[in-house]
Symmetry: C2
Subunit: 217 residues, 2 copies
DNA sequence: ACGATACTTTTTGTATACGAGCGGACGGCA
DNA sequence: TGCCGTCCGCTCGTATACAAAAAGTATCGT
């Protein structure tokens, strides 16, 4: 796509994900434009796109605010994700190639390898491998629309840094789900894959809630 | 939202739905701007929104084209819709008010009343009542995100004028599904409601395909 | 001292003007 | 005659300038 608009889009997105723009912050077009080194026009375009992805919220004559989510919202998001990705896993079971399955296995291996210990570097590696895993499943579903519809749902947990709340035990369990899903794919058992994915995501939400109410308020 | 941008948005949307802008047509910003009586800036915004809703497709340095769908795309859309709306019906079963159920019944009555005969006026009334029915179910699900995620899926069949392909018998069957869904809601049986909705939409797709291959080509 | 109102400031929304990229047409060359 | 390169025109992409709307502030009246 266009140059400046994309640049603005990426910058804003990064700043939201890293937390530089906190939840609820008022994104003033001029200021953001200066940050990205472009004019207001491409910034507006970028904000529109982010609005479509639900990362920011537009208020009619007041501009864009970075989105914030209640626990209720987050449950909604996880349930939708479970449904979507469950469906993706179902479709993937009959379509996935053995090459893709091998890749999934690499992801699971990577996660296992990085699991002992809690360094920031390791957490990021695990997060990346996890994203790859889910990405591969989604691709294997061969449903472009599903992929697009899902994109924004997948990113929100990342923004919320849910992974920061996971203990070593949580990660081990999570990766056991991954392994089981691989088995289900090998068996071409769509319902099995679907159910594992559903379980996987519901468990993730549960961990989020439990650790959340412990640490936060 | 803003005035001119919304106006442009509505105008373009209408022209796409009514077919004034045919599938694959190149929407030139200047021309569209003239049509709507505003400048290019709000038009660009409107096009961006429509892009997010998958009604138009952006090509990097060439602008917006109205989207077109293959039969395969349409199947994908119907399957996703069945999943989504099925889920909505599931949620609605435990949340819907008796007032809303009464409204559903009015929609079903309206459809029955308009069914005998094939006048354009009647078709439009049936279409409207059908939309209302599905809208009420969606609202009753009380899931804002679900509603938004679904919006673009629901509209595509309307744009494709799938309803024009339905025979009187199809409509009768369709409305029987509506009645059964109402029963499921009254019984607060979530799975029942979900399955009826799923059936309802799969049948709709099937009718589309059958009548399509008969009439077209 | 408190509230309301008018004015100023800030920020968004819209229009227009300018620059860049792409495609098509024309002309030159083999 | 057929192919390739260059040039021109069309449309998009970006910047800037201007108008409108809302928030904040100070002043006036009660």
């Amino acid at each position: 796509m266009s140059k400046a608009a994309d640049l603005a889009y990426e910058r804003i997105r990064q700043k939201i994900i890293t937390g530089a723009y906190g939840a609820g912050a008022h994104l003033k077009e001029e200021q953001v434009a200066e940050d990205a080194g472009v004019s207001r026009t491409p910034v507006r375009e970028a904000l529109r796109r982010l609005d479509a992805e639900h990362l920011v919220k537009f208020v009619p004559n007041r501009g864009a605010y970075v989105a914030s989510w209640s626990t209720h919202d987050i449950e909604e998001i996880f349930v939708l994700r479970a449904m979507f990705e469950g469906h993706a896993a179902y479709r993937a079971a009959s379509r996935i190639t053995s090459a893709a399955i091998a890749e999934l296995e690499l992801c699971a291996d990577e996660i296992d390898a990085q699991t002992p210990g809690q360094s920031e570097r390791q957490r990021l590696n695990i997060l990346a491998a996890n994203q790859r895993f889910h990405g591969i499943v989604l691709d294997a579903a061969h449903s472009e629309r599903l992929t697009k519809a899902l994109a924004w749902l997948v990113e929100i947990p990342i923004i919320l840094r849910t992974f920061e709340r996971y203990s070593e035990k949580d990660i081990v369990r999570s990766n056991q789900h991954h392994r089981e899903m691989i088995d289900a794919f090998r068996a071409r058992d769509a319902r099995w894959a679907q159910n594992v994915m559903d379980t996987h995501l519901r468990a993730a939400f549960r961990r989020y809630v439990v650790h959340g109410t412990e640490n936060q308020n």
